[in-house]
């Protein structure tokens, strides 16, 4: 197991390096620069700025100095949020997105698994149809439609909840964004869970368990749940990265100071170091969570063993 983890870490280094290299050159070749302004800048001032950020040097030198800075944990200065460094901004925005993302994750997994099992158990009954209708609705209705409707109802008409803001993540501020984000994710998980659970319930060992007269509860929890979780585990890793790194739409609608806003502003304003910093973070998280999923497989599936 230890050698497996070690191998995954070693594999991650070249993967990340390739990712950084591609991103570095892609954003540099995008038209426009972080210093493009509507009003033209005196050439002397522009030259000074470029010198300050090392943009006057050849591209390969900039690349090298970025990589060496990165090795020391320096993500560079932000060009959009000029008073901050990228590391600082990520250090304040990431916990916000993490908090929302983890809540969404927990709610969706618990609710989605539960609903999926229920639908599988009562396959082709009204319960199944109701759950699946809501799941599909949750997936297909985009959050930029649902979120404003939630605000309209709960914040403006009923005045129960704030219309946005963060305020250090008080529950009132988290409720609507979490609901708006979790509804699609829950539906997605419920559908996967239903499908795999139906497959498992048709297997011979379940029939054997039933024949032995085990109660449904025991069959479900002890025998069916684990194999049915297999397909889910493989999608949860990348999905986890998706939810904890922030949703652009939700953060914009609710005014949440998370990673999604940094992404958008970074890309639109050619904030090179911001875009690269976020790419590296998401890349590293994706690699890490995929590794965790692989390790989790070993626990869930007795056929897989790492030695």
């Amino acid at each position: 197991m230890l050698s497996f983890i070690l191998r995954r870490i070693l594999e991650a280094i070249p993967t990340l390096l390739i990712l950084i290299t591609i991103s570095f050159f892609l954003i540099r070749f995008a038209p426009g620069s972080p210093f493009t302004t509507e009003r033209k800048m005196p050439p002397e001032v522009l030259a000074n700025i470029e010198a300050k950020y090392g943009f006057d040097k050849p591209l390969y030198e900039q690349y090298w100095s970025y990589i060496s800075g990165l090795a020391q944990g320096d993500l560079g200065p932000s060009f959009v949020y000029k008073d901050y460094s990228v590391s600082e901004l990520v250090a304040t925005a990431f916990p916000v997105s993490l908090k929302i993302g983890l809540t969404v994750f927990v709610v969706s997994v618990v609710l989605g698994v539960f609903l999926g099992i229920l639908a599988a158990l009562y396959q082709n009954t009204w319960a199944d149809y109701t759950i699946m209708s809501f799941s599909v609705a949750g997936i297909v209705i985009p959050s930029y439609v649902v979120a404003p409707l939630l605000i309209l109802l709960f914040a403006i008409y009923l005045k129960w909840l704030p219309a946005g803001g963060w305020n250090d993540g008080g529950w009132q501020y988290m409720l609507l964004p979490v609901v708006a984000m979790a509804k699609g994710f829950t539906g997605y998980i419920a559908r996967i869970m239903r499908g795999s659970m139906i497959e498992v319930l048709n297997q011979d060992f379940i029939r054997t368990a039933r024949a032995k007269g085990l109660p449904t509860r025991t069959i479900m929890l002890r025998h069916a749940l684990r194999p049915a979780m297999m397909p889910l585990a493989s999608v949860l890793g990348p999905a986890m990265v998706g939810v904890i790194t922030g949703s652009v739409v939700i953060e914009n609608i609710f005014g949440i100071p998370g990673m999604g806003q940094l992404f958008v502003n970074g890309a639109l304003n050619r904030d090179y170091s911001m875009v690269l910093g976020l790419t590296i973070l998401v890349g590293a998280l994706t690699i890490a969570f995929n590794a965790i999923v692989d390790i989790a497989y070993a626990y869930i599936d007795p056929k897989i063993r790492y030695s």
Binding site: P31, G32, S33, F35, T36, T37, E38, R39, K40, M41, P42, E44, V45, N48, I49, V80, Y81, K82, D83, Y84, A91, T92, A93, P95, L98, K99, L102, T103, F105, V106, V109, P148, I151, L152, A155, I156, K159, P162, A163, G164, G165, W166, N167, D168, G169, G170, W171, Q172, E251, N252, I253, F254, G255, I256, P257, G258, Q261, N265, L268, N269
Partner: protein, 551 residues
């Protein structure tokens, strides 16, 4: 940074959680993250009686007045106080300076208030102004707006910005702690009017030099205005509280001012409706008519000193022909554009100077005095003379920044050209940075822009067409025009000065390198309980003037 240390401090506290068998890892992580946040504070919706919440369009990119603060200007105007401030009518009022004098309009002496204090209690002195102005001029200041000092003709500003002279040679000095002297390159009759600009705010030298990378943070920030910086959460809010040492503290009625950087107009509007926000940054276009009908008292849409323009690239054919440019300008029906396409109080514009800033008596020969039919007739004649016809139409491309609101008006302009002249126009909307890049490199035929006045004087919008400003962009270089503006600058008599501005306008209309379409409105929603709010032609809304009445 604080949060990072907080996480580590909590690590040991949460270590016991690991011992609980079977507790899913994500629950541990969730608790961990919750533990990292501060305990919930009061809801923003239930703002206390004296807290004002203002919309700020988007996150300020910096709070350094000398850099390009863009979206931070409202915050800066609350935190700092320049020599003068801009009153509701656009005229300047004394602020950090009590009074000023000049004998020759070239050397100005400002007498500073003796009771003015920084938020840390230090007196505000002439040295502070000398420091901040030199810093602004210096090419070493990143993103510095040294061009502003150059454009208002401060002595040696150009050479200092170019690095040819040291900042110490800038035409400013402290005669004594409370007398600040400014020397100009040439006499300027309206120099004092240019001084409310945020780039000219004083800075606390010890703070800026003591914390070069951190002085704009609440922890270190020192300012001399009615408010000081209390909290800055990126992408969430900026909170200001009164500066207890402010000389006019008794006339500051708010307990705090919160700026919310909400870039989505709909989101901002929802926050306003929910009562979280008292003054919005803008109004969603789709809601404007409905709101003006239902809550007219809350809708503000004053005309401001800004003009929406089309710019013609005269450096390359076919638009190097001034007659063709005129044809294009005359063919646009501004009344239809403002009332049918926009309809939010905009006003047709025919001069570079906004009509609300200076109403010239334009001669009958000026195209603004003709009827639209007449304009279209002349446009068609000029178009044909330039060698185009229905059979051989001109093909043009308009480049503009991608924005829903722009699509409609640019589309309308193209339709008018098609109807009157038969021109085939290609509409190219570009992402903002790409757009700026194209304009800067001269890669465009027609583009859109907003001409904003920096101060309440026609010189400001007119100066955008000075040879050195517009020459590199659209190729407009006219020494006569330049001379007229230079002459206007030193003319004390307003009537004579206006006559010179009018001459410059007429001169420009002969070339029409860029063409005014309409005067812009600054649309905001303001809650009825915000007291003291008055529309401002340059968009200066100081929170100091505002209070909240019981509601």
């Amino acid at each position: 940074m604080d949060r990072v240390t907080l996480i580590c401090r909590n690590c040991s506290r949460l270590a016991w959680l690991k011992g609980i068998r079977g507790l899913p890892a994500y629950v541990v992580m969730l608790l961990f993250v919750s533990a990292c946040s501060d305990p919930g504070t009061q809801m923003q919706g239930q703002t206390s009686g004296k807290q004002l919440v203002r919309g700020n369009y988007a996150e300020p990119n910096t709070l350094d007045p000398a850099a390009q603060p863009g979206l931070g200007i409202h915050i800066l105007r609350d935190m700092y106080e320049g020599l003068v401030r801009s009153g509701p009518d656009g005229n300047v009022q004394p602020a950090a300076a009590e009074r000023w004098e000049s004998e020759d309009l070239r050397v100005y002496t400002f007498h500073l208030r003796k009771d003015a204090r920084w938020s840390n209690g230090d007196p505000v002195t002439a040295q502070d102004f000398v420091y901040s102005w030199r810093r602004l001029a210096s090419p070493a200041t990143p993103d510095g707006r040294s061009w502003y000092l150059t454009s208002i003709q401060v002595k040696n500003a150009r050479q200092v910005a170019a690095g040819d002279l040291p900042p110490e040679r800038l035409g400013v000095r402290a005669l004594d702690p409370y007398r600040f002297e400014i020397t100009l390159e040439q006499p300027s009759a309206f120099f004092v009017d240019t001084l409310a600009h945020h780039a000219l705010f004083p800075l606390h030298r010890a703070t800026v030099e003591g914390h070069p990378d951190l002085w704009t943070r609440p922890r270190y920030h020192v300012s001399n205005g009615a408010f000081r910086l209390d909290e800055w959460s990126v992408n969430e809010r900026v909170v200001l509280v009164p500066n207890e040492h402010y000389w006019d503290r008794e006339n500051v009625h708010l307990d705090s001012v919160v700026f919310l950087p909400i870039s989505s107009l709909t989101a901002e509007f929802n926050r306003y409706r929910a009562g979280d926000l008292h003054i919005t940054g803008s109004i969603p276009p789709a809601q404007f008519d409905r709101l003006r009908a239902s809550v007219p008292a809350e809708v503000r849409a004053p005309l401001v000193a800004a003009t929406f323009m089309l710019d013609f690239n005269g450096k390359q054919p076919p638009l190097d022909d001034s007659n063709l440019r005129k044809a294009l300008a005359y063919a646009i029906d501004r009344d239809t554009l403002t009332s049918n396409v926009l309809g939010r109080g905009e006003r047709p514009a025919y001069t570079l100077t906004p009509a609300t800033m200076r109403a010239y008596e334009l001669p009958d020969s000026h195209w603004s005095q003709w009827s639209q039919q007449e304009r279209e007739r002349v446009a068609l004649r000029l178009y044909r003379e330039a060698g185009y016809s229905i059979a051989q139409p001109l093909k043009l491309e308009i480049k503009y920044p991608a924005d829903e609101a722009n699509n409609a008006k640019v589309g309308a302009i193209a339709a008018m050209w098609k109807r009157v002249l038969g021109i085939e126009t290609k509409l190219t909307h570009l992402e903002e940075k790409v757009f700026s890049d194209h304009i800067r490199s001269g890669d465009y035929q027609v583009s859109t822009w907003n001409l904003w006045a920096e101060f309440n004087e026609p010189y400001s919008p007119l100066s955008a067409s000075l040879s050195e400003e517009s020459g590199p962009v659209n190729g407009y270089r006219d020494s006569t025009y330049d001379q007229l503006l230079a002459q206007a600058m030193k003319t004390v008599d307003t009537t004579v000065r206006n006559a010179i501005y009018l001459q410059a306008e007429l001169r420009f209309a002969e070339d029409l390198r860029s063409v005014p379409l309409y005067q812009v409105t600054d649309r905001k929603l303001v809650k009825p309980f915000v007291n003291g709010y008055s529309d401002h032609m340059l968009g200066f809304i100081y929170s100091k003037d505002l209070s909240i009445i019981d509601h």
